[in-house]
């Protein structure tokens, strides 16, 4: 069977290029320019899936973005993507797709048993049934529902495709290339505005591709083609097809997803799969058109029942007949247009019109063609299981409550038109409060909220003449505001057939004794009866009804179902539709692939990686790296088969006995200059800074205004009005902003400049008893003796021709120095230190050894300065000046901060001197106490003390000051450990601090 439903000629497909594709394992042929949907229909395939809940057979309902049924799993170039609408997926050679939501096959689906159990599966079924017993949820219900429900399957492989983000600015952004969009774009472009015109489909023109109209003495389609061709040549215009504007955000920021490669068998080299555009537009013209809505009747989900506009599009764009015996069921003139197209291609459609005696030019044309028209007639139910075989029809009373005698007529498709619903999603997302338009029974945008205007069918205007007139004018006016040009274009004359008023009729009553399912929402199997149940059970807000019944949810977001749902609620509640209101329109308008949203921020690009100038040396010397914020730092330098524990222990021990060198480039550095620099430091730090001499460093603690420690570090007075501040690696950016805040806003009278110099300096900490000997060899011309460079001293030196800054400061608690050189000389400095240090048995040490050294010395770091502690908690109250004021000082008087039993840092040693205490363990008095066991404190940092060769931890402990010598338990439920411990001083090693001064 080859494309039996393709007509001989016509359509916009390229008949010279045949494409072969596979659906559910079977090979078919289609043409270039087809969608997967049109190609399947050309081959007579109407069964493409199973419904979500009842697993009823599903065919095609629409021809585009509104499609609720034809959702497939796509296979392309070794990748798979779920939930692709067959109506949107363009055909390419070798395309493969499969049905979703059916097992083992679409023809025989076990889940279809739900269809016979449907009486037991009403609205809210899942909520009601799977609630008890509670323990069954995770083990039984949830996995079962997950397997039975759900649409496609996401790939578990790494996505090889590339996605791009692009930022763009324009004067006028136009969403949709139908008559309104084309007219607006053309007028604005001719007036010199920078225009972006976006069309979600591959072809431009919107309704002009299928409607029978004339513009400026040519067919609508030809006129559209002419406009697009001209727009494409204009330098101030960007024209994009396959591009969906899916979100309207604050301050006229719109986001568009451009499908660059989805229509190709594989993505071209250097091309992305999709491109996400962030567009900041001065003005926006929303010309998104409208979507036909269905009329609700019995079994209206049977494959073969579809929107009449879709049937027309398949015929006019793709040259495909959706059936050979069509039945058209309409409440307005649109159905006649479809019937006329069928008739022109030699078929004999029957039209059922719910209206009694409608008259219009279109109806006259249908009558003249001899089309069989039945007025005041409706489809009561479709018959057939996997495909429509016939329809039960009946006459209907004027009040639409009574059905006449039911007749059965043979047909193989039912084309439904229940009038049109403007696509107001973008306008609504912009903040526009929608209003209900009585004459079209639908919501339209109200007062513009941002710089947006909605025109044409999206604004509920279905006359082409009016649409073109308003859109040309809007294009001129909007562009005039921006460009101040006034080049108007002539508005072409229009020939279109006038329509008559539609019938406010949307749901066919059930015949006596019949209980047909009448579906409102096709993707989620929400029937009229489900909404009735929800209302009976007391759900009133439309948002609640939506969530309880799932009406309007899932991948199509109710594009064809929302309004009928509102009609039903309004009828039952005896309210008008605008009083019921509609659910919120949220972006995205259509599903957007996660890849497009993520863009290039994957893998290594998901965050920046900062490396010190010495990074390549670390790499060459077997450093094992660790993430420290965005920095990569050596954790330890692996020797042989050493693990982290062994390696870091060796490195720390070598610092305590010989000398070690650590890369401290990552520390934040801020250059502070100006006559009031000392005054600034005096206000920012808790201790006194006014008398710090030139050539001296001082350790300082800074607080937030709430009294909590923000950061610590040393600051050195380089010269009279010049200071060098260091911060912790993590807080570097915050501290700079903090200083800028006070200088710019609070104390602008201070004459000080601050600038980050973190990246300008490479730093090496040289620590250990032999560090002075090494330093003397590195700087033979400088006096680095204890007198020449005392503890907390600073000098400049000459490192083999490179200018260096030498600070005598220590984090390890040993005699130690920090040498800084300009970043470009970092590696040179490092290699010299290693080379000269060889005779002193120097070893580089990483962050793990660094932690060990500071923990056993009781020096605080990020794990203690965790945003919850004040100076006292960290045994830093000696640095808090009583004489002067500083940021956060007043907060330290808060009663909780001055409480007698205030928490405080302590040292913790396991009684067995063997068991390492997991960080985060809680300290408790009684390990057998019932839960919740009162927590006295927590372990903030743990190490293996190289000084005493046993585990040692720091903890923040309630009343820590008076707890020294107490025996407690460290409990870690996570690691399932209970460790008896003794509380000791946090200064475990060298409590008097003699080594740093030696």
């Amino acid at each position: 069977m080859t494309q039996a439903f393709r007509i001989e000629n016509g359509g916009l497909i390229n008949r010279d290029k045949k494409l072969s594709f596979k659906f559910n394992g079977k090979t078919y042929l289609g043409y270039e320019g087809d969608t997967l949907a049109s190609a399947l229909l050309a081959n007579g395939v109407h069964l493409v899936g199973r419904s979500f809940k009842y697993h009823r057979p599903r065919g095609f309902f629409g021809a585009g973005v509104d499609e609720p049924y034809a959702v497939v799993q796509l296979f392309r170039n070794g990748e798979t993507e779920p939930n692709i609408k067959a109506t949107e997926q363009e055909l390419f050679e070798g395309l493969e797709a499969k049905s979703v939501n059916c097992w083992p096959s679409v023809n025989f689906d076990i889940g279809a048993i739900n269809n016979f159990l449907k009486i037991f599966l009403p609205a809210g079924f899942y909520y009601k049934t799977f609630m008890w017993p509670k323990s069954f949820w995770y083990r039984i219900y949830e996995p079962f529902i997950r397997k039975a429900a759900g649409l496609g399957v996401a790939s578990t492989k790494h996505d090889k495709e590339r996605y791009e983000h692009k930022y763009e600015y324009c004067d006028l952004l136009i969403a949709g290339s139908g008559p309104s969009g084309l007219a607006g774009a053309y007028a604005a472009a001719k007036n010199g505005a920078k225009v972006i015109l976006a069309e979600d489909k591959p072809r431009f023109g919107g309704s002009l591709l299928t409607s029978d109209v004339n513009i400026g003495n040519q067919s609508g389609k030809d006129w559209a083609e002419g406009i697009i061709t001209e727009l494409k040549t204009m330098p101030n215009v960007v024209v994009k097809n396959r591009s969906q504007i899916f979100g309207y955000y604050d301050h006229n920021m719109l986001v568009m997803s451009e499908k660059v490669s989805d229509h190709l068998p594989s993505t071209k080299k250097y091309h992305p799969n999709k491109r996400l555009w962030y567009i900041r537009a001065k003005e926006v013209l929303i010309s998104s058109g409208s979507i036909e809505r269905p009329i609700v009747f019995g079994n209206n989900d049977t494959p073969g029942v579809m929107l009449s506009s879709a049937a027309k599009e398949y015929l006019k764009v793709y040259g495909v007949l959706v059936g050979r015996k069509p039945l058209v069921f309409t409440n307005n003139d649109s159905g006649y247009e479809t019937a006329i197209e069928f008739k022109k291609h030699g078929l004999d459609p029957v039209v059922l019109d719910s209206r009694k005696n409608p008259e219009s030019e279109i109806i006259d044309e249908a009558k003249n063609l001899g089309i069989n028209i039945k007025n005041s007639y409706v489809v009561v139910a479709a018959q057939g299981y996997k495909k429509v075989k016939s329809a039960d029809i009946a006459s209907i009373s004027e009040d639409k409550k009574q059905l006449g005698k039911i007749e059965n007529i043979l047909c193989d498709c039912i084309c439904v038109s229940g009038f049109w619903t403007p696509t107001i999603h973008l306008a609504s997302q912009s903040g526009n409060k929608t209003k209900f338009k009585e004459d079209i029974d639908a919501f339209v945008p109200g007062q513009s909220k941002q710089n947006e205007i909605t025109l044409g069918a999206a604004n509920g205007v279905f006359s082409l003449e009016e649409t073109l007139k308003t859109s040309f004018t809007a294009g001129s006016e909007l562009s005039k505001k921006i460009t101040e040009n006034d080049n108007k274009v002539a508005i072409p004359n229009v020939v279109e057939k006038k329509s008559s008023q539609h019938d406010k009729f949307w749901c066919v009553p059930l015949p006596k004794g019949k209980n047909y399912k009448r579906f409102l929402d096709f993707q989620n199997d929400v029937a009229v009866s489900d909404v009735e149940i929800a209302l009976r059970e007391g759900y009133r807000s439309i948002e609640h009804v939506k969530r309880y019944t799932t009406l309007g949810m899932a991948t199509d977001q109710g594009k064809t179902s929302n309004l009928n749902g509102l009609q039903l609620v309004s009828e039952i509640e005896n309210k008008v539709v605008p009083a019921v209101g509609h659910t919120t329109f949220r972006p995205p308008y259509t599903p957007i692939s996660i890849g497009a949203i993520v863009g290039r921020e994957v893998g290594k690009h998901s965050k920046p990686t900062r490396k010190s100038p010495m990074h390549s040396w670390h790499e060459k010397n077997n450093a094992v790296f660790v993430d420290a914020g965005v920095w990569l730092r050596p954790r330890y330098y692996k020797r042989g088969n050493e693990n982290l524990f062994e390696g870091s222990k060796r490195e720390a021990k070598n610092v305590r006995t010989n000398v070690g060198v650590c890369d401290v480039t990552t520390l934040g550095k801020i250059d502070i200059k100006g006559p009031d620099a000392a005054e600034l430091l005096n206000r920012v730090y808790t201790n006194a800074w006014l008398k710090l001499p030139v050539g001296k460093a001082r350790y300082g603690v800074m607080l937030r205004e709430d009294g909590i420690v923000m950061d610590d570090g040393t600051t050195t007075r380089i010269s009279e009005n010049h200071y060098h501040m260091t911060t912790t690696t993590a807080q570097a950016a915050n501290v700079l902003s903090h200083l800028e805040y006070y200088l710019q806003l609070v104390w602008p009278e201070l004459n000080v400049n601050v600038v980050s110099t973190t990246e300008q300096w490479a730093g090496a900490a040289i620590a250990g008893p032999k560090s002075r000997d090494l330093l003397q060899k590195l700087f033979p011309n400088s006096d680095v003796s204890n007198e020449g460079l005392p503890f907390m001293g600073y000098m400049e030196g000459d490192l083999f021709g490179v200018k260096a800054r030498i600070y005598r400061i220590s984090f390890s608690g040993e005699l130690a120095y920090e040498v800084n050189v300009e970043s470009d000389y970092g590696n040179f400095m490092w290699e010299k230190i290693i080379e000269v240090g060889e005779e002193f048995n120097i070893q580089p040490y990483g962050t793990e050894a660094l932690s060990t050294l500071r923990i056993e010395m009781g020096h605080v770091a990020g794990s203690e300065l965790d945003g919850r502690t004040i100076p006292f908690d960290n045994a830093l109250e000696g640095l808090v000046s009583k004489k002067k004021d500083f940021i956060g000082k007043r907060s330290l008087q808060r009663s909780a901060f001055t409480a007698e039993d205030r928490q405080r840092i302590v040292g913790v040693v396991p009684l067995d001197k063997q068991t390492s205490i997991p960080e985060g363990s809680h300290l408790v008095k009684d390990d057998k106490a019932p839960l919740p066991n009162p927590k006295l404190g927590h372990i903030s940092a743990s190490c293996w003390s190289v000084e005493y060769d046993n585990p040692f931890s720091l903890a923040i402990l309630k009343d820590g000051k008076n707890m020294i010598g107490q025996k407690l338990f460290a409990m870690s439920p996570l690691k399932n450990k209970v460790i008896p411990v003794e509380i000791v001083s946090s200064h475990y090693v060298d409590p008097k601090g003699e080594r740093v001064r030696s």
Binding site: D250, H251, M253, R280, G431, E705, A733, V746, D885, R890
Partner: protein
């Protein structure tokens, strides 16, 4: 995404800025006796207005200047922006 007129750099997207809270808060002067209530008001108590709000933003990925932005917290409309030292009338 908001579009903020930095008084130093011009129109820039929100992702170049970081938010800094209520701009009407005045820090008590240094070395001045401050009651608990006054200090609490300065450190913690904020009005969380619905409507026009004068707030601080820092142009961290631009000129690094702190600026004042008059914004409607409900609609996100931005009315005016000011330099740090500009008086807001």
């Amino acid at each position: 995404m908001l579009y903020i007129n930095c008084p130093h750099c011009g129109m820039r997207s929100q992702n170049e800025f970081s938010y800094g809270g209520d701009a009407s808060v005045k820090r008590p002067e240094l070395n001045k006796e401050v009651s608990d209530q006054e200090w609490d008001n300065f450190v913690y108590n904020r009005k969380s207005l619905r409507g026009k709000h004068l707030e601080l933003w820092q142009h961290i990925s631009g000129c690094r200047q702190w600026i004042k932005v008059e914004r409607d917290t409900a609609t996100h409309e931005i009315f005016r922006t000011f330099k740090a030292d500009e008086e807001v009338a």
